[in-house]
Amino acid sequence: MFKILKKEELSDAVTLFEIEAKDIAKKAKAGNFFVLKIDEQGERIPLTIADFDRERGTITTIFQKMGKTTHQLGALSEGDALSDVIGPLGMHSHIEKFGKVVCVGGGVGIAPIYPIARALKEAGNTVISIIGARSKNLIFWEDKMREVSDELIIVTDDGSHGRKAVVTVPLDELLRDDDIQLVYAIGPAIMMKFVSKTTEKYQVKTIVSLNSIMVDATGMCGACRVEVGGETKFACVDGPEFEGHKVDFDLLMSRQRMYIDEEKLAMERYKNKMGVQ
């Protein structure tokens, strides 16, 4: 069993957990993810490792309450335990001194972009970060991002915090004016798609982290297959990071919707059971 040591509500929809997982914390690197399963009946879901503390033996994850499993997860409290936590999974980020880099985090994607921005900063890069969400209440870790960035740009769709824009607007401006070596973008597939389209114009290498549906997440099942440069890849072991210009995002989004009906059914059932709206 894996104990939840700390729970923090970052917003109405976004929750942070610090989970006791000593061995995973020891090995985790920026870019890795993990899989959790709440209980016997639970499904295996991949979540990002947003941070880790090797000394305390904890990993930090941030998730948005979307479907049944994430709602059930959000209802757990400090001291509760998860039946299974598997990680670290996936290839970690390739970090070196590139020069000037832009890190884009959208929605809960702010969580996984944080350790990458930190690692890039530690490697001597100039880091400009753009974080964005629908509105102010979905933005979190502004301070943490500021700490690891030379410049932090905040955008919201409704203008309730920072600039009223989508992330690609300030990104385009940066690419136009500055000598950017690399862009890292993590967020909803649609955001990563448009970030990649934007950077392609300027031929700036762009790394995205793909959040496809997974089961075992160790390369065994192929549920997470994505097309990159016309080839089928498994996001769990070949990724989750790929070069954005080569990714077929439309296929990714289509595959993410595969169980939309089942997700609805599971959510309805959960709401009825819990007596919530």
């Binding site: 295996r44 065994m220 549920a223 289509s254």
Partner: protein, 464 residues
Amino acid sequence: MREQEPLVRAKNFMEVPYGYSPEEAEAEASRCLNCLKPSCRQGCPVSVDIPSFIKLVKEGRFVEAAWKIKEENALPAVCGRVCPQESQCESLCILGKKSTPVAIGNLERFVADYERENGEVQIPEKPKPSGRKVAIIGSGPGGLTCAADLIKEGHQVTLFEALHKPGGVLIYGIPEFRLPKVIVEKEVDYIKKQGVEVVTNAFVGKLYEIDELLNEKGFDACFIATGAGLPVFMGIPGENLNGIYSANEFLTRANLMKAYLFPEYDTPIKRGKKVAVLGGGNVAMDSARVALRLGAEKVYLIYRRSEAEMPARKAEIHHAHEEGIEFMLLTNPVRYIDDGKGNVCGIECIKMELGEPDASGRRKPVPVKGSEFQIEIDVAIPAIGTRSNQFLTSTMSDLSLNKRGYIIADHETGMTSKPGVFAGGDIVTGAATVILAMGAGRKAARGINEYLKWKFWDTSKLAR
């Protein structure tokens, strides 16, 4: 053996055969001639003393019969159900020359079930500790067998499993109706009770490296039994459409995650109305029969050769026919058809004919020009094999692999090119059977035991 009626069982996940009654078992055992030179035993990859256990069944001493098997085979309830007996022990039974061979597999299954159900499972006495530690990577049939053998020698054994449940293919791959999961759980319990430590959720290569286990965590030897690994897709257009599952994924969802109980269990699975399964092995049969039990109206089994060439167990082919799976033989898929919304809605196939024998000795299927046709489907399951999972091996630069990415190991001892590291089962041979993996686990246990005594590393017999 009595079985559930085909049309009834095709709608449930309960086991197909009911198993023998004690009377039926004794009657079947009485058919054994107790040959002076029994050849059945030579057909068994783990050399179970078949004549002796059958004799005990004949005498009604069922529990002792189970113990007799367990001298050589740690997983009799599993093997009685999933071994290809018709090409092993039973193929060599002298009775088979004139009529039907003794149903050795059914008898093995009966005594193992009898022992378990009557609570007479015997835990062997703990041997004197050797002071040696062995790590086994992978808790499938090879890893379980190796663990069971090594614990008897007094070694401290830790079994690392990447998934959340031990058992490997016995848990994620083979369906409930062919191998009830409670049986696997009991077999794993039996090994645990003998002192084997089982660590789940441990993806070795990521969470721990092999060198770390050997150098820092105090293990004297490692046995890599990680199985076959990555699913193979055909590489035809449309393969990534929604509704197309690798057999590994389809079976893992259904078996390990119990998606057939969705929404009681959280993992979903597409319940196709018209399902195409591609392939002719046991995994294809399992996938087809699971699809049927999930409520499919029509399940096509598409295979490019003829039924005679199918590698599946005869009993599974027979069961699949009985349950109404439609065999489309000498047929090969060419492409999948998109419904315009990202879901598969059809498959285009081409007719094949058998040409000259190929490298495998089987006649090579060749396409018949202009014979393309389409069928309507909403789920497709390619079950055409696996390739090596190089995840763990890629973290070990000093381990030799063959050109297909499988580990090069001595077939008698499991020794690899890296001192202290043994390997066996599908990660060495490529996809094979449960019993062959068990045989490899047993040989590696012997190899490891010898190595722990002498610490001598002999790589002269590595098959290249």
